[in-house]
Each structure stands twice: as C-alpha cells, then as structure tokens.
Symmetry: C2
C-alpha cells in the first residue's frame, strides 16, 4: 500500500499488519533495535519503522544504507515518540535496491547550490518534495479553475515561422546539418532543405493563437512551456519555463482584473486545501510568514491604480530611488515593493504609457495610454501581465505600422478583427513566478525540475 493511504486513515490500520515499500531517509542503529525513517514518495511525511533483534536478518538490516529501497511489513502501532501519531513495528525488512555509499543525499542540510548539481536526486529531499508537489498541485489548480469556469484548454504551437516577436529573442530551430549549412547565392541560409522550408523559431507566446480560439470558444487558456533566449543570470530568469495565457471574449480590462483576482485566490485556496503538510514545512523553513501572506491575499481586495497615480505615489514618497519614477517609464522592482507595502497586498497597475507596451494592446481614449494591467504582489513582484486587446482593425493596423511590426506573418491575426471582432482581453502568468510566490523559494532554478539557464542545460 501507499503511505498516503495509510496516513489518510491511520486509525483504521492501527494494530493491523501493513506492507510498505520505499526508500530509507534515515537509519539510526542501536544494539538491540533500529529505526528506519521510510519515505515512499506518496506523501510528505515519513514513517518511523522500528525493528528489533528478534528478526532473523537483524544484522543485515543494520547494514542498509540511507537511500536504499526496502520493503517493510509490520504492525502499525500508536507511537510513543513526540510529533508522530503512529509507527511501524517491523516484522520483516527486505532490501529491494541497495544504495552506493557515495549517495549525495545524506540526512543533513545541503545547500541549494549543491542540490542543483544533483537535480535528478534533489526531489528526494524535504524541500523539493514540497516544492515539486506544489508545482504539480498549482498546475492542477490552474487547470481546475479554468475548466470549472468553462474555458477551453488550447495547446498552441511552439514551432513558428513568424518572427514578429523579434527573431533575436527566439531560439532558431532547424533540421539542417549545422556543420554544413546550405547557402544560397547571396550567402544566406537556404532553408529549402529544412523541414518546414522556412526559417523556423520557437515562439515565446501562444497569445495570438489563443485569441483566434477565444473568437470561437469565448473563454480559452493555454498552459505550456515557453522559451526566451535572454542571457540573464538572475534569480527570476530561465530560458525554459511554463506559462498560462487565458484569453476571454466579451471581456474588458475591468472584467479581466476581476478574473485575475478570483483566479489567484482560487489557486491559493486550492493549494492550502491540498498541501497542508508541505505548506507548513515551507512556512517553517523557507519563508517565515508564508501562510499569513497567502491567507491575507484571500481576504484582501486587490487595489486597482492607474500607472500615473502609482507614479504620483512613488514621487510623493520622497525616497532615494535607484530608478527615478517616470510617467513614461516602467515600474522598477523597488517601486513594486513600495506599492505592495503601501497597500498591504496585491496591486493592479493599469493604463500604461503606450510606448513601453506591446502593439496589440488597446489604445485608450486619451491616445497616450493602453489598457494594460500588471498585477504585482508582495515579495514576488509582477505575477501576471495582461491587457485588453485592440479589437478595431484600423487602429490595430495603425499601431502595427507605427511600431514597425512585420505584418506579413500575422495577417490571419489581424483578420480576426475583420471577421466578427469583439472586445476581448487576456493575461499571461508564468508558472514559476507563481510557484515561487506560493512556496517562498527565491530562485527560479529551485522552482523548475530541470532548469535551463545560460550555459546550463545539464541533465
């Protein structure tokens, strides 16, 4: 049986014989008995298994190393030890898989840097048991929210021949032999031999495709891997990460903020319900006050403030900013922190200066700002970025030509405005950012099973 099943109904198993298979997390040996902390991966907790020298292979059991796989049969009994309700009085301990003595994951504190070098083993530690189960549960919370609200999950393509995002920010993809790239007469790559017969990239967003589906299914969302070629070695950048991009027809910026707020609260509630043990551990050992922070989000109403009013606030703050707040400029990390501190919770910053935002965002009446909104949250900064999309064909065309976007590969996208356009909005949320916010881990490398960062594509 699985340990989770046992713990879920431990009272019914007391005084009964059970058999568990798992890995030795810790092994304390004494002369006449020993203690094995067994972990089987099905839940966060371990189970203490006590064996005595009445077992015929007692001496052999004492040689079982941490990390080994064992099968233990025994009687579940109430535990005399503090902090655990039950323990297993072993009647049989069997070795299933030995573990070499040089096993890197020993029952002691390892640095996160060391564990990153053991990426394939680190999920066996408490920290990564918590983080990666939460990553899974958060992913499910995202799917559940959207499916329960009648959104259609759309898997948008990663391969694209459109370079409207700027090809230098996208990975190039080829089936050509890179050692012998065929060149045309002008000395440029001859892509005729390549699989798609065109220069091909990995796209950085599914939004454009998502919009096409929102015009058919009303509410849709994407959720999949996303790629950036950025050479940033920071705590919040990775070259491969996951993102969800909902897109909603007949939805303006105000309604979008309603959805974002409801969505975030729903995910947090789901996580607190499903992972109490993991969250308790993280609250205790990773971010003190984590649970308070999240519970506070559940009961707060997110502030909604215009970009220009946010700048007013920042300028009035009379602080010694590293980056001077500007009505035409972005909001820096230090500004986000000030604003979330000031309002004691998540803040929507909306109606941004058009020149620093994307071409597809809806131009406001003032002609100066676009209907974009960023959600910034305490300690993690920007969590979601969204906008109402420009639904007017002519105004979209104007923006495209002003901002020098290559129209040729997105004609179809523009046509959505000619074939039954409607007010619509959407946002994007990086899964890792949310995982970091909810688990308290402060480095994206610890929020991704096998992170890819510049110079680092191991495992």
């Amino acid at each position: 049986m699985e340990m989770k099943e046992l713990y879920d109904q431990y009272e019914t198993y007391i005084d009964h014989e059970v058999t568990l298979s798992g890995w030795i997390r810790n092994h304390r040996k004494q002369k006449e008995f020993g203690f094995i902390d067994l972990h089987d991966g099905s839940c966060f907790a371990t189970l203490q298994c006590v064996y005595g020298n009445e077992l015929t292979n007692f001496a052999e059991i004492q040689t079982y190393r941490v990390g080994s796989t064992v099968k233990i049969t025994g009687i579940l009994i109430p535990s005399p030890a503090k902090g655990q309700k039950v323990e297993l009085k072993a009647t049989k301990v069997e070795l299933l898989g030995d573990c070499l003595e040089n096993y890197p994951i020993q029952p002691k504190r390892h640095t996160k840097e060391f564990l990153r070098e053991q990426a394939y083993l680190r999920p066996r530690t408490n920290l990564f048991q918590a983080v990666f189960r939460l990553r899974s549960v958060i992913s499910m919370a995202i799917h559940s929210y959207f499916q329960e609200h009648n959104y259609v999950y759309v898997t948008t393509p990663l391969l694209t021949t459109a370079d409207c995002e700027g090809s230098d920010q996208m990975f190039k993809v080829t089936t050509l032999d890179m050692n012998h790239i065929p060149m045309d007469e002008e000395g440029k790559v001859d892509f005729k031999e390549d699989l798609f017969r065109k220069e091909t990239f990995i796209t950085g967003t599914g939004q454009l495709h998502g919009e096409a589906f929102a015009m058919a299914f009303r509410n849709i969302y994407t959720f999949g891997p996303t790629f950036r070629t950025e050479k940033s070695n920071t705590k919040i950048h990775a070259n491969e990460f996951w993102m969800s991009e909902p897109e909603i027809a007949f939805c303006d910026l105000d309604q979008l903020m309603d959805i974002e707020e409801d969505f975030l609260k729903s995910v947090i509630r789901y996580v607190l319900d499903h992972c109490p043990d993991e969250m308790k551990f993280l609250d205790q050992f990773v971010e003190k006050g984590l649970l308070d922070k999240l519970n506070n989000v559940l009961t707060s109403n997110f502030v909604r403030i215009d970009h220009k009013d946010a700048i007013d606030l920042l300028l009035k703050a009379n602080k010694d900013w590293e980056f001077t707040p500007s009505y035409e400029g972005d909001i820096a990390k230090e500004h986000e922190k000030y604003l979330t501190d000031y309002f004691h919770g998540p803040v929507f910053i909306k109606n941004w200066p058009k020149d620093i935002k994307a071409w597809y965002m809806k131009l406001n009446e003032d002609g100066k700002t676009v209907a974009a909104v960023d959600l910034v949250v305490p300690s993690a900064g920007e969590l979601m970025g969204g906008s109402q999309r420009e639904e007017d064909y002519d105004r979209l065309m104007e923006r495209i030509s002003t901002m020098d976007v290559d129209r040729s590969t997105i004609e179809w996208y523009c046509n959505l405005r000619a074939y039954g356009t409607c007010v619509h909005s959407g946002f994007g949320m990086g899964l890792e950012r949310l995982v970091m916010y909810i688990t308290g881990v402060d480095n994206i490398r610890d929020a991704i099973p096998f992170p890819r960062t510049p110079g680092n594509c191991e495992f």
Copy 2:
C-alpha cells in the same frame, strides 16, 4: 450571460429577459421577421433568435452578415420549432463587430482540407467546436485521473544537450546567427558562443527525467509537447504533438496494464459525461457507431497476449498479409486491425523481441524478449506504448553497450539504479492519437489546433 448557463437551466429563464453576445452562425431573412442562429462559444448548441419588424433597426439587422458579432436582448420562450427547446424573441439586436463579405466560414459544408487552410477560423465550425472542446476535456480527464490517483505532474525540459535518442531525429536549437555560424579549427560548429555553450536539441521524450521523479514521488506523469523531425506525410504523423508519460515506482508490467486499462476507461467515462452534445454530433457525422465503440471499451476486459502468441494467431489466420507476421518483427497496422477485430476490443501485446525495442526496457528471463507492452485499439491502432524499465544497473549497462547508446550524457539516469533502484514501469500516450480515437477524426491535422507537418508551419 453565457449561453451554456442559459441552456443548463433554461427552464428558470423562460419568460425572462436575457442578453447574449456572440457570433451569427446563420441568418435567414423574411419580409417581416428574421432568424439569427447565435453561437457564443460557451457550448456546442446555437440559440435561435427571432426578430420582427417592430424593431426600429429591423432593416439594418437584416444586413448583418454571417460571422458578425452581435448582442441580442430578448425574452426566452419555449420554441415551436422541432429539435430545440427554447428560442429568443429579440427585443434588441446590436452589431458589435461586422464581418467582411469574403468570410470563408459560410453555413455550408466545407471540406476538411479547405478548413485546414483556415486553421485560425475553423474552430468556429461544428466539427472543430466538437473536436477542440473534446481535446480540452480529454486533457483535463488525463490530469484528473493522475491527480486523483496521487501522481505528481512533472514538467520535464524540452531543451537538452543529450543526443541519446539519435540527433538526426531531433530538432537542433540555437541562438547563433545561422547566416554566420562560427566554426572551430576543425571546421565544426563552435558552440562556445551558443546560449548553452553546447550543441542543443529538443528532446523527444520526458521519460528519463520522469523516472528520476518516480524514484522520489512514486507516481508521476508528464504531459507536454513533443517533437519529431520525421518527414512523414501520413495521417498519423505530425512534427509537434502532445504526449503524456506516466512513470510508476514499485510497478511491474502486469500492474502497468491494470493502470493503462483503468486510465483509458476513466478518460472515456469523463468525456461521455462532460461532452454529450459534442459526442452525439461526432457519432452522427464523423464516425457512425462511435458511441457504441467507446461504450464497448468501458465494459470490456482488455485481452493480454504475448507478442509470440499474437504472431501465432496472425500466421494461423491464413490471410494474404502485406507484411508477413514475424516472431522477430513489428506488428503492422493490418495485424493490429486483425487482432482488435478478433478480440472485439482493445488488446495488450506484450513481451516483445528485444532487438526491436528500446535499450531501457527490462530484459525478460528468457533473454530474448523485453517486458514491453503496446495497447492497440479498434480503428486507431496503437494508443499507448509502455514497458517495465531495466532496474538492474549491470544489465542496463550491458544493454547500453550492446545497443551502442552514448552513455556520457545519461550517467545520471543510470545512477538511479545505483541509488535505491526499484521495479518500475511507465507508458507513453500521444494525446492526438487519443483525440482521434475518441472523436473519430482520422487525420492528425484535424486533432491539433495548428498542426506542424513537413513543409507546413503556417499560422
């Protein structure tokens, strides 16, 4: 309000005023009144909206074209027309977005080939409303099954510097300027300038990484996009598709088949529960007998047969095979069809000749076969492929060297057998194959929102 909400509780809305926004699917005009079939994407059905010449903008409404976006207010009334319970007696019809006259999706039968060329508009047709909502619901059924059974969702990386799958089958990924690839002294690409400083690929499987996580979480699954460079222009091949790869610790081949069977039945049950309208449409217009086929799966016990016994059967069949069945060989499409016909349902074919299967599969006692299993289903062929993995370090090493696999980049994978190995198994299932099986569409291009096939990476 959304149309789904209205239909879900239509009785409570009868004689009440409601307002709906959506697109005109069909528009029949008569002298004194008109009929608009409104579709808002929230459900499969449309709603008939009747408007009369008492409306002040009656003449204008009559000019609204198919594909346009409208907002209609009216009183919901029981419908006198056959095949629909309610209709809307419009009191106000407002144009939100016009539709050009050249709109390709007219209320008539379009060929699937034509619709593929309109990939961004085809989700607005009945066929693709059904198929793509089902794709979404099937995806959710997959997540639900695994999460309810306490599996951890692992997002394995797509970018890899390991070419153990054979680099000619993988896409190469680079940030180098392809027009000016830097070369080293030996005339080979100098990857020092590339983002990961090594030759990089898109992997074709998450299994190896999944195994590492199964050794920590016991039950895990992946679900994400997968890539193949195959130049096959068939109905079942695409270069980008989605795959789920569960991996289960303490699970042998028999238990794996139990899981696969339970999983498939659960997904079918979920789909029949959640999409009755879509399934009815597909049963009627795409694959006659579709519902019977799926209901039959729910009540059948899947046959389990050794590869050699399957070959026996095929040879005894005394048929004029295009491919002669062979004890050392693969099972062709025509063989799969014979076997599923013969057993009237899904068939597990297990214990395959080792030379035609992968290096990581567990060698059976006979030294000739491996503990692999393919699930073949009526009409769709192979739906899942799985195996028990070789958990013994030495035997794995032997297979690796016999089959000439490059060990250098998978040392970590092999080490899983040195650090607490255990019997474990997993399978892979292509989402599109399952979508085709459940919806009855027979071309993978119609099961993927924006398909990528050789020479075709449009939209």
